[in-house]
């Protein structure tokens, strides 16, 4: 049987070049050829159509961007609200995956929307990528900066900058024409989105990661067709794909340092202080924001997530291979779940 998959972010994205091919290869391997996977990176389901596309079986596996569907997934989006917690994308991705896969309210949201959750990826930390140097908070004042998630908009606002939302299709042009002076993005985008052509400075504030892409989301219609053994194979293969992608992100971020004409600036004390103050305020407010969205017992859930981040900080070691990471994620998370009952 062939899974009709949609990594969803175009043929050049890490999801299409690394994550989904790896899921396909491993799945074939684990099921001895009974299942494979065919990815259509773009053209079939756009990111903003993914939730209904998976629900109705237009595609059978895809990348669900949580921030696009806040009304559908208030509980599963909790880790996105806390993306400032944790240090590296390997840790954060694993903690988010364990949190959602073991959170009954989150799983109920996926079931209600005809989907089954198998994992989330995470980007390297976010920095200020700008055309003019940012060496202190003073330099941010009045600067128009494109931000994705509300978290970053709040941070830019707190520093006296001017957050703007722009579709990613206009990012490159807006930077080159000076409509905006910078963007809040991760270093790997300098390589992946060719931002190296238009920005000159990277100020390494390392403020959070993007952890809202549930790269392994499966249509309930497909899940129903799979035996518990097949489901286990798919869950395990998905960890391989995501783990390989996480390492790929880190490698791209490292490559960005070799791009000519970009100065990497370490954040000074004023920026570090602004970041710390903002994060404290943000963490204190998180429970309130989540409760407003309809999340019950928000503080207890936040505490559980933070504990999981600590757990994975301890489990992940320096220089771990992606295969080892994948096996660790599978053993720690999905091997402990009854996959025959999961997702229904």
């Amino acid at each position: 049987d062939t899974i009709r998959a949609t990594s969803g972010f175009g043929p050049a994205h890490v999801l299409a070049t690394v994550v989904y091919p790896e899921i396909g290869t491993r799945l074939e391997d684990f099921t001895e050829g009974a299942w494979d996977l065919q990815d259509t990176p773009s053209g079939l389901v756009a990111p903003n159509e993914m939730s209904s596309g998976l629900r109705d079986g237009v595609t059978e596996m895809g990348t669900l961007l949580m921030p696009y569907f806040p009304a559908e997934f208030p509980d599963a989006a909790l880790p996105s609200e806390l993306s400032i917690v944790g240090s590296g994308n390997l840790v954060i991705s694993s903690a988010v995956t364990e949190y959602i896969a073991t959170c009954p309210d989150c799983l109920a949201e996926f079931a209600r929307n005809g989907q089954v959750y198998l994992g989330t990826d995470a980007t390297p930390p976010y920095n200020l990528l700008t055309t003019e140097p940012v060496r202190s908070v003073e330099d941010v004042k009045g600067m128009r900066i494109r931000t994705g998630a509300p978290l970053y908009a709040g941070f830019v606002e707190a520093m006296g900058g001017e957050p703007t939302q722009l579709p990613s299709s206009e990012l490159f042009e807006s930077l080159s024409q000076g409509v905006i002076a910078g963007t809040f993005s991760a270093n790997h985008e300098i390589i992946a989105n060719r931002l190296g052509d238009v920005i000159n400075y990277v100020t390494e504030v390392e403020e959070g990661v993007f952890n809202g892409a549930a790269a392994g989301t499966v249509s309930g219609i497909l899940w129903m067709r799979m035996s518990p053994e097949d489901r286990a194979a798919l869950a395990r293969a998905t960890q391989y794909g995501i783990a390989k992608g996480l390492v790929g992100f880190v490698e791209d971020a490292a490559k960005a340092r070799e791009v000519e004409g970009i100065e990497f600036i370490e954040m000074d004390e004023s920026l570090a202080a602004a970041k710390e103050a903002y994060n404290e305020e943000r963490l204190a407010a998180a429970a309130g924001i989540l409760t407003e969205r309809g999340v019950e017992d928000a503080q207890a859930k936040i505490d559980r997530y933070i504990a999981l981040v600590d757990k994975w900080e301890g489990l992940i070691t320096e220089g771990m291979t992606y295969e080892a990471l994948a096996e660790l994620r599978y053993d720690e998370i999905f091997a402990k779940i009854d996959l025959g009952a999961y997702g229904s």
Partner: protein, 179 residues
Amino acid sequence: MRFIETWIGRISAALASLVLLAMMLQIVVDVFMRSFLGAGFPATADLVSRYYMVAISFLPLALTELHRRHIEATIFTDRLRGRARQAVGYLGFAVALAVFVPMTWGTAREALTQTARGAYVEVGTTVFPTWPSYWILPLSFGLICVVLAFRLIGLATGRFELSAHDPLEDLQSDAGETH
């Protein structure tokens, strides 16, 4: 029937005109505010894309049919007369109806779902509701279904005839001969 057509035309033209002007003014105001006051008009991109653009894309559908402005290739059917031409007319309107009736139904169901969950997007640090915008679709598709049904009745009763040339062409064209 004519009375209903007239009002469908008037209302959708008025609504779409308002949307066009609102879109223009809001984008301009946003640009000015951004340039001179430092901050743009709140939620401009979301209001433009999710409300104005959805409206401007579909509200005119019925009006466009009333003016016979939907784009068709007439090259192979121009020479047909009598029954054959009549059949081409029935086919066009029937296929259109067969497309727009399920679209009305499907988008109405989708609008109900989005309304039930109170769909919204996060804009900067605030919340912007999007669920009402989903209702623009069933409304627009419903209007064109009505017009298409009238067209079929018109064909059957002989009140509407499919012409090679647009009826408006004779009225509007200021210069008679073109070649």
